[in-house]
């Protein structure tokens, strides 16, 4: 015999069955393509070879933590992990406040057409792929023909062209700058939407009280978008190692990386890609990725806990 609550849920479900079917289809896709493949993680603990095909996932022998031991013993593991963390943290540290600042500046603009122009122009780089961006970067930063280098040399600011795209010393800087430039406009839209949702009466009351622009930003706008800021921050920290708000670390490191700057540009994802796909070591690459996933989950839990502690808000 069904409980009263269950009966009411069932009634509601029957009433909405057309909509539920659509939702079910979406969930089925989610299950098939996002959850079901997760079982493939087991190859991180097995002696799987691509020559075994799909059946090999089940038939290959268990090897415990063999691949993890190999990764931790790999002579470049420290360097690769350091690159992954430094690049991710730098990108978070600069990519996160940049769109908030941009949104605040845009919201304070009085000239509507200029505001729209800036918003559109800052949003456009989001649609440029990293491959194209590399070509643009080459045109600007190349040591032979790059415009920036020509300006620097002609102005006498440097004696020789700066190897922005090849030297490991410049990799982090160029990557973070590119990421901020590419993605700030896109993320600013979310914060602009949050700012638009703030009750205008609060600003009117602040005007009556004699509050200046900065005071209104500090006491009304920022607290008003706090929930959005926290949500975006937690999501960014969760995808920190993947690049977070700064866009794909993998694409950036793979495209901007070369043998010259490899000591700075090799990150866990590119290493996993090279050993996994190029050398056909899927099991080993899965183990590398699994390490990264575990770190990401831990980061989400810690950041959510931290956000709850300090602001009282979290995503779960």
């Amino acid at each position: 015999m069904m409980g009263k609550g269950l009966q009411s849920t069932w009634r509601k479900f029957r009433k909405q069955w057309q909509l539920q079917i659509i939702a079910l289809a979406g969930m089925t896709i989610l299950f098939l393509f996002s959850y079901l493949p997760l079982f493939g993680i087991i190859i991180a603990f097995k002696n799987y070879s691509i020559n075994m095909g799909f059946a090999g996932i089940f038939e290959s022998e268990w090897v415990g933590l063999k691949w993890f031991r190999e990764i931790f013993g790999f002579y470049r593991f420290g360097e690769i992990l350091k690159n992954t963390l430094v690049l991710s943290i730098l990108k978070l540290a600069l990519s996160f406040p940049a769109p908030i600042l941009l949104a605040l500046l845009l919201s304070e603009m009085r000239c509507t057409w200029f505001k729209r122009l800036v918003q559109t122009v800052s949003y456009l780089p989001n649609f440029i792929s990293w491959v194209l961006l590399y070509t643009i970067a080459t045109a600007f930063l190349n040591t032979d023909t790059g415009i920036i280098n020509e300006i620097l040399v002609n102005l006498g600011l440097v004696n020789a062209p700066v190897p922005f795209l090849t030297s490991p010393d410049y990799f982090y800087g160029v990557s973070v700058f590119m990421a901020v430039w590419k993605n700030s406009g896109y993320w600013a839209i979310i914060f602009l939407a949050a700012i638009a949702g703030i009750d205008s009466q609060l600003y009117e009351a602040a005007d009556i009280d004699g509050a200046g622009r900065l005071a209104k930003i500090w006491h009304i706008t920022l607290p008003g978008i706090k929930a959005s800021v926290i949500t975006v921050l937690i999501l960014s920290i969760g995808s920190l190692l993947g690049g977070g708000m700064g866009g794909s670390n993998f694409e950036q490191a793979y495209i901007f990386g070369n043998t010259f700057n490899n000591s700075a540009s090799e990150i866990l994802q590119t290493y996993s890609f090279k050993t996994g796909l190029s050398n056909g070591r899927f099991a080993y690459a899965t183990a590398v990725d699994l390490i990264q996933s575990v770190i990401s989950i831990l980061l989400i839990l810690i950041s959510n806990w931290g956000a709850k502690k300090t602001t009282g808000e979290g995503i779960f």
Binding site: W17, Q18, L19, I21, I22, L24, A25, G26, T28, I29, L32, F33, S49, I50, N51, M52, G53, F54, F74, Y75, N142, T143, D144, P163, L165, T166, S167, N258, T259, F260, N261, N262, S263, E266, K274, T275, L277, S278, N279, G280, R281, F282
Partner: protein, 541 residues
């Protein structure tokens, strides 16, 4: 009521649509994963019918012709369609058309292996990965099943036999001694280097007999043409020409013979001289930093734009680059440096390959019988000549002594519309690809003659193949990675001392990564294989 019915139908359609959108691609791929029994059976029936025989040659009607999937595992493969006069002749002969796939990146084959769908024929250099009876048919297995004689030379059989004792392919570019003996025009293909003729002449055409001469020339270019980059090397050919001049191995994987012992390529002592020289050139500003970041044909682009003097590329570079310069309207041309390998002391290289790519018949092949027949023919002289050179009497003729083909087109720039030359790259031996150069009139052949003079052939080195997922292969992959990364650091070191230190650090790292273990493994095999090879190397058939 009507409204409800419409609602119900709409929901079902939407739900189905969503599912299909999500699953569509996979469903198709899934269906393709297995051989289509109907198609296979159609193929078999077609075979049984064996077409119409006209004067000993089978002819295939339109509905008997089957389309098979051919995967050419090289990202640079020039032809991506089975079309043109030469492919049409093959289609007529075997009733086969190929749907060609050229990978967009080097990882595609591994993904295909993992998915179990390799199509009907694979042309690849991944010998150990594909020489697996779970993935590909062995040739003897098919020959037995379809009652055909493969007629493979005993030395070819030996060098191409996989570790499981089976023969899966015949790799291209290698021929046994007895085959080459009858062809005195045969030379080895190897790297080369071109320089800009106009600048060279303006600088008084100084003699280029060795690396010192060439270094002096680069210095003159740097001093007299400050806007021109004196030297660059091509990404794919990794500066092999300069390595050879230094007596270093141009190979970036596998083993080299050092005093009769097989050692991993990275431990080749010749590399020290190479690094010293390159570091010297780098510090003198003959090369740009960007050269180390290139991943394609940027050197060629730099040359065409008029900003490069010397390009270390391949032995056919002059024949390849000059038509491009002409097309681009450039007022200069390039010329190969031919004689430097003759004058440079210690210049040397080993032809250590037992072939570099081969045709494999995967288990997913829909019609192994017809594909085997095609491969067998492609490996024959008749097949190689047609696929590589074109039609006898139309595209080429033998010289009077029957010692080389005289082509009526430029072999280094064949007409793509005819589909000539490059399909032959799937199946040629050690002579068919180089003989046309003799009569071609270009400098490619001269450069290859000079390179052949300083070459030793040792196919056994190429037989030291590590299992695809073995520990040895893992060590070798790590050594390759080490070499790729550290070579740049060594060459770009700030001083000669730092260059030496970094080189020694690389060797130390290689030992820590298992280079000595790999040496031990290789030498256990090397001695046995070499002894067996020496016994049969002069076999006539």
């Amino acid at each position: 009521m009507k409204k409800k019915t419409v609602q119900k139908m709409l929901s079902v359609i939407l739900a189905a649509g969503l599912l299909l959108t999500g699953c569509g691609g996979k469903t198709d791929a899934g269906a393709e994963q297995k051989s289509d029994p109907e198609q296979a059976s159609a193929g078999t029936e077609a075979n049984e019918a064996e077409g119409e025989e006209t004067g000993g040659e089978k002819t295939w009607s339109e509905d008997e012709i089957i389309t098979l999937k051919l995967f050419c595992d090289e990202v640079w493969w020039p032809y991506d369609e089975w079309s043109g006069r030469i492919p049409d002749i093959v289609t007529e002969k075997f009733g086969i058309k190929f749907e060609v796939t050229v990978p967009s990146d080097v990882n595609q084959l591994n993904m295909m292996i993992a998915s179990g769908d390799l199509g009907d024929l694979v042309c690849s250099g991944k010998f150990t990965r594909l020489s697996d009876s779970n993935i590909c048919y062995s040739l003897d297995e098919l020959a037995q099943e379809y009652n055909t004689d493969l007629n493979i030379h005993s030395v070819m059989r030996f060098v191409n036999t996989a570790d499981d004792g089976k023969l899966y392919t015949q790799m291209v570019g290698y021929s046994p001694n007895s085959v080459l003996e009858g062809w005195d025009k045969v030379v080895y293909e190897q790297a080369g280097m071109v320089i800009r003729t106009d600048i060279y002449e303006e600088l008084g055409s100084p003699a280029l007999n060795n690396l010192d001469d060439f270094t002096n020339l680069l210095q003159s270019v740097k001093e007299n043409y400050p806007d021109i980059v004196p030297f660059a090397y091509n990404y794919s050919f990794t500066n092999d020409y300069i390595k050879i001049l230094c007596g270093a191995t141009p190979d970036e994987e596998g083993f080299v013979d050092v005093d009769g012992k097989a050692v991993p390529f990275i431990m080749d002592p010749g590399l020290e001289r190479y690094y010293e020289l390159m570091n010297d050139w780098y510090r003198k500003g003959y090369m740009t930093d960007e050269n180390f970041a290139w991943t394609g044909t940027e050197d060629e682009e730099l040359m065409i734009s008029g900003k490069l003097f010397a390009d270390s590329f391949y032995s056919n570079s002059e024949d390849l680059t000059n038509p491009k310069l002409e097309q681009a309207g450039a007022d200069f041309r390039v010329q190969l440096v031919v004689d430097m390998t003759r004058g440079q002391e210690g210049a040397h290289w080993t032809q250590g390959t037992a072939g570099w790519r081969g045709l494999f018949i995967p288990r997913s092949c829909k019609d192994p019988e017809r594909v085997l027949e095609f491969c067998k023919w492609a490996w024959s002289d008749e097949g190689q000549e047609l696929l590589l050179w074109g039609e006898e009497g139309v595209d080429w003729n033998w010289d009077e002594d029957h010692s080389y083909p005289i082509l009526n087109y430029d072999f280094e720039a064949p007409n793509a519309e005819d589909g000539v030359k490059y399909w032959g790259w799937m199946c040629h031996d050690g002579k068919a690809n180089v003989l046309p150069g003799y009569g071609n009139g270009g400098s490619t052949y001269d450069a290859r003659v000079a390179l052949t003079e300083i070459c030793d052939a040792n196919p056994v080195m190429g037989m030291l193949r590590m299992g695809a997922d073995s520990n040895e292969q893992v060590i070798m992959d790590n050594l390759k990675d080490l070499y790729m990364n550290e070579s740049t650091n060594i060459i770009t070191a700030k001083s000669a001392e730092e260059c030496k230190e970094k080189y020694e650090a690389m060797l130390e790292a290689a030992r820590n990564m298992g280079a000595d273990q790999l040496t031990e493994w290789a030498n256990e095999k090397y001695g046995t294989l070499k002894a067996e090879y020496d016994k049969i190397k002069d076999n006539k058939e």
